[in-house]
């Protein structure tokens, strides 16, 4: 009689103590492994800091004319940047980015513009995500004529080039920042509705949904507690990239005079107001445009990073 004495496998102490990593931890790690997403996050962090601290770091109020400062500054309209550290005479008042056509300090306006830009991006996308998610969920969950009706309306919205539809909507609503935001929000609904509908369709028939249903879960619970979490990752990616598009479109509307109205320190409208002075005062066009580009770039870089980081096909490769 032989007894088989199996030596228990030596346990790797590290494997035992290894904590389980959640999807978000993995994502976070991967995001920090990409140079481009790090650049994106640094730019965004900088923008957020500027937006939060604008009242303290801005030398002047964004709407204050240099004639109204005490004592009034003797300075030309649209004067070139004057930085004391870079050799600008000390007796001249310092304006890091010069002054604009109404004798306001361009630098202060730029700083306050960061607030508006981030606010524009976040509010339009939140609006579009909320409405898009609900519509997409209803369409995917109920199917039939509800699905048909909702998705055909989305098709119609997609049939217009997005900026043109936004222009048409603002023309009807009347120019203004809120109306521009509403227009861009409406225009971006279909993207989220489609993402949500696709997610709902892919999990609707799965066992855990049937389980919830047989346990007496109502439609609301099934949709928002079972299905929505599964659609979260594509929505986050779409949302981040959507913020970039929203900021760009809002800037374009403001540039055309349909969005933020003067004297609001919005980059697009600041640029639009001075566009005919590009040959005499290029700095007034250069800085706002650069700021728009950097903001949009940061969201695009983070969005791309998130898309790769959240891709489930890659989860096991590098976790």
């Amino acid at each position: 009689m032989t007894t088989i004495t199996a030596t228990p496998p030596k346990l790797d102490s590290e494997a035992l103590t290894l904590k389980s990593t959640s999807l978000w931890q993995i994502t976070w790690h991967r995001l920090f492994r990409r140079k481009s997403s790090i650049i994106g996050m640094i730019i965004l962090a900088l923008l957020v800091t500027i937006a939060l601290t604008a009242p303290w770091i801005a030398p002047y109020s964004p709407t204050l004319s240099m004639l109204d400062v005490d004592p009034p500054q003797d300075i030309q309209k649209r004067s070139s940047p004057c930085i004391h550290l870079l050799g600008c005479p000390q007796d001249q008042p310092q304006h890091i980015m010069g002054t604009d056509g109404n004798l306001r300090d361009e630098f202060s306006r730029m700083l306050y513009g960061a607030r508006l830009s981030l606010m524009i991006g976040l509010s339009t996308v939140s609006f579009a995500i909320i409405i898009g998610t609900v519509l997409g969920a209803l369409a995917g969950y109920f199917g039939g004529w509800i699905d048909n009706l909702i998705m055909r309306v989305m098709d119609v919205l997609l049939a217009f080039p997005s900026l043109l539809l936004a222009i048409a909507i603002v023309t009807v609503l009347g120019p203004g920042l809120i109306n521009a935001l509403l227009a861009i929000g409406i225009v971006s609904i279909p993207a989220y509705a489609r993402v949500m509908r696709a997610s709902v369709l892919s999990v609707r028939e799965m066992d855990f949904v049937s389980a919830t249903r047989s346990l007496g879960g109502n439609t609301y619970e099934i949709l928002f507690k079972c299905i929505l979490p599964n659609a979260l990752t594509p929505l986050i990616v779409q949302g981040t990239l959507g913020i970039a598009t929203a900021i760009l479109d809002a800037a374009a509307l403001s540039f055309l005079g349909l969005g933020a109205q003067p004297p609001t320190p919005e980059w697009g409208s600041m640029l639009g107001a001075e566009r005919n002075q590009v040959f005499t005062a290029p700095h007034l066009v250069f800085y706002p445009g650069l700021a728009i580009m950097l903001t949009v770039l940061s969201f695009n870089l983070i969005g791309d990073g998130l898309r790769d980081a959240l891709d489930p096909r890659l989860v096991h490769v590098s976790s």
Binding site: R152, A252, I292
Partner: protein, 359 residues
């Protein structure tokens, strides 16, 4: 294939109907009544009643919608209050300018974007790849109007009196005149006939007209005026195309049949161009098709920046002058055009990939 096209055509009918309904609703949602919006201070009760009756605005809404659809079906897209001209006439005047600009921008983005993307994929992770992708990221984030203004500043002012100097606005230098090619050719056409409209449309594209008449001064002038706007407008599609070309090529290059082709001793060039690139063209067709919509939107901004009197510019003028006729008419036309484009993209996609039409 025929059944696919028919099915796809039928699918676009509800969308077209939706577009008509949306634009109709937009026009009715304008705050205040259209009479006051159009006539301003001249709008008294009597004038408005007359105005409403003349424009059928005193009829029930469903009837008005029916009339509207009927008019569109007959090619009547309304008229501009500001120019006192039918929209179709304005469109035939202005569209060639936008088409020329968009086409030039599309060519630039294709001929620069595709090679860049393909090279990045073939030399994956090399400096070419890194630079291209960085540049593509910046390109999609660039506000078109800003890039346009900066290009105008650099090429018209900073590089003034160098061979690189380029005009910052307009389509032709003062003094350069253009004669429609059908007149130089001595073609006999009755004004207003279908043939005349088509020929007239093409003759308004300066570059095309210059090529047809062999007028080289005109050609050179038209091209130098088109370079900056076309380049500004092309950045976003160029970046998208380069990215898509790269990822499509990377995917194809990893396939087994590429390894087989290499293993059987084909040279690198043939493998990349014949085996890989052809298969990467499919997703590229979609991106190019979808960029066309973006080009139309971008044209509004580019034409405003460069003072080109195309569709985008007239739309901008229509907005600032509150000419709702222009906004409504042009929106309908552009949306219908866009639906047609999507249809062409889908059909060509189905033609290129049999899996789609058989599904």
């Amino acid at each position: 294939m025929t059944t696919y096209i028919i099915r796809r055509l039928l699918l676009s009918i509800p969308v077209l109907f939706g577009i008509l309904f949306a634009t109709f609703a937009l026009a009715r949602l304008i705050p205040g009544d259209p009479c006051r919006a159009m006539l301003g201070e001249k709008a008294t009760k009597v004038v408005c009643d007359e105005f409403n009756h003349r424009h059928g605005l005193d009829r029930p809404i469903p009837v008005q919608f029916g009339v509207y659809v009927n008019e569109i079906a007959h090619g009547d897209f309304g008229s501009s209050f500001r120019y006192s001209k039918p929209i179709t006439e304005l469109l035939m005047e202005r569209l060639p300018i936008t088409v020329e600009l968009s086409f030039a921008a599309l060519l630039v983005s294709i001929f620069i974007g595709i090679p860049l993307g393909v090279i990045s994929a073939v030399r994956h992770n090399s400096w070419v790849d890194v630079v291209t992708m960085m540049w593509a990221n910046v390109g999609v984030s660039m506000p078109v109007f800003w890039l346009g203004l900066m290009l105008a500043y650099i090429f018209a002012l900073a590089l003034k009196d160098t061979p690189l100097q380029l005009p910052p606005s307009g389509r032709l230098s003062p003094g350069i005149i253009t004669v429609p090619f059908f007149e130089t050719w001595g073609m006999q056409l009755t004004e207003g006939s279908f043939g005349f409209i088509i020929v007239d449309f093409f003759s308004r594209m300066n570059i095309f007209n210059a090529l047809m008449t062999g007028n080289w001064t005109l050609l050179k002038d038209a091209v130098t005026h088109l370079i900056l706007p076309a380049f500004a407008l092309s950045t976003i599609p160029m970046a998208l195309i380069a990215r898509m070309a790269r990822s499509a090529m990377l995917e194809v290059l990893g396939q087994d049949y590429i390894r087989t082709a290499r293993a059987k001793g084909l040279n690198r060039r043939a493998v990349i161009l014949k085996h890989a690139f052809r298969n990467a063209l499919l997703p590229l067709a979609t991106v190019i098709g979808l960029s066309l919509g973006g080009l139309l939107g971008g044209a509004v901004l580019t034409e405003t920046v460069f003072n080109l009197s195309g569709v985008g510019r007239i739309l901008y003028d229509g907005i600032t002058a509150r000419d709702y006729g222009i906004v409504q008419g042009f929106t309908v036309v552009i949306a219908m055009f866009f639906v047609l484009l999507n249809l062409i993209v889908d059909v060509s996609y189905a033609y290129l990939d049999p899996r789609i039409r058989l599904n």
